[in-house]
């Protein structure tokens, strides 16, 4: 995803002396790509937005009120961090653990922003707006496009589309969650586990990722009986950092052992 040759060339870069028929064809191709990007953005938005209903329901079940639940979807707006935060709150974890877990899961968005910066080439205050819409899906759709116009269309349509639907569905879920009664009878606790698994699944493409995930499962399960809520999850992050350092050192020593690279993103929420 971060190959330098992925950087789209600005539309204006087309040589001026080009045959008008060729310029026309290029323009049509870009139009087609923009339309395809928008279509992709809409389908991703609908799928992800719908899932906001389970976030809303689980959040009120975890003990947050309607306003707090909406604040998370409006202000935090990052699925993994939102689910993690309500998970720690629901488990009676420490406030610091809740913020730290959400923050750790949000680190990947910084990497997405760094990747998107040169592709979107936005003016400074536009960057502030774009930052809020920088999530897994908008990055995945944007970086899959070739021309700058399609990159921008993919990013804004996906980001804003998900934002609108995610918040509407969060509201619906939070209102429904209040009326549900016992969340376990509806399997909502299992739904939360499945949601995390769905986020994890596309990331398990490489051996290093699978090994790290397995280690995280063992560490988290081992710590649950002894550590306060939130700590087992944070401990798994520490394990991943250690594995990352060891892995990097191993790769320096044996640079030929090229393994499929671990790339952030490229999945859906």
């Amino acid at each position: 995803m971060s190959r330098p040759d992925d950087v789209p060339t600005p539309d204006a870069d087309a040589p001026a002396a080009l045959d008008p028929a060729v310029t026309d064809a290029v323009e049509h191709a870009v139009e087609d790509e923009v339309r395809a990007a928008v279509r992709q953005a809409v389908s991703v938005s609908v799928a992800t937005g719908l899932y906001g209903i389970s976030f809303g329901a689980l959040s009120v079940v975890a003990g947050l009120d309607l306003a707090q639940t909406m604040a998370l979807s409006l202000l935090l707006f990052s699925g993994g961090s939102q689910f993690a935060l309500i998970g720690v709150v629901g488990a009676g974890g420490a406030p610091v653990a809740a913020v730290a877990t959400a923050g750790f899961l949000g680190v990947r968005n910084a990497l997405y922003g760094a990747q998107l910066g040169p592709l979107l080439a936005l003016r400074s205050w536009h960057k502030v707006v774009a930052a809020q819409f920088t999530i897994d899906e908008s990055t995945a759709v944007a970086t899959a496009q070739r021309s700058r116009r399609a990159v921008r269309a993919g990013f804004w349509w996906t980001g804003i589309g998900i934002f609108v639907l995610w918040n509407a569905m969060t509201l619906a879920g939070a209102l429904a969650g209040d009326a549900l009664g016992d969340p376990r009878a509806w399997g909502l606790d299992a739904a939360a586990a499945a949601a995390f698994l769905g986020l994890l699944w596309p990331r398990l493409a490489s051996r290093a990722m699978r090994a790290t995930a397995a280690a995280a499962v063992v560490v988290a399960a081992a710590l649950v009986p002894f550590a306060p809520g939130g700590v087992p999850v944070l401990a798994a992050a520490v394990v991943a950092i250690v594995i990352g350092q060891v892995d990097a050192r191993r790769r320096v020593r044996r640079p030929t052992g090229a393994e499929p690279g671990v790339r952030p993103g490229e999945e859906s929420r």
Partner: protein, 106 residues
């Protein structure tokens, strides 16, 4: 947590996560281009999600328990392996757990 504490958590986490998003857009590209940084960040994300799956599936406060959530997660895994859409995966897991509990197990 009291309601006021939850508000502090919600707002602090929101500010932190927005700062992270914005930082990515503002830092010079080469800072985060280091492969080791992006690899480690990807590993951390996977580890956090795997740990969250674990705690959410077999955790019950400070206890480890096997209940309807575990078969529900297995169903979700099969659905994911069959490339089912996200929302279908989540609903299947909920239906499995709810069904098992309606039958009196877990």
């Amino acid at each position: 947590m009291t309601s006021a504490t939850v508000w502090v958590v919600v707002l602090a986490a929101s500010a932190l996560c927005f700062a992270l998003k914005l930082a990515g857009h503002l830092v010079p590209e080469h800072w985060l281009a280091d492969e080791r940084v992006s690899r480690t960040a990807a590993l951390v994300t996977a580890a956090l999600l795997a740990a969250l799956v674990t705690v959410q599936t077999v955790g019950d406060g400070q206890a480890l328990v096997v209940d309807a959530r575990l078969p529900a997660l297995a169903v979700a895994a099969v659905a994911l392996a069959l490339r089912a859409p996200f929302i279908v995966v989540v609903v299947l897991a909920a239906v499995t757990a709810a069904g098992l509990r309606a039958l009196g197990w877990g």
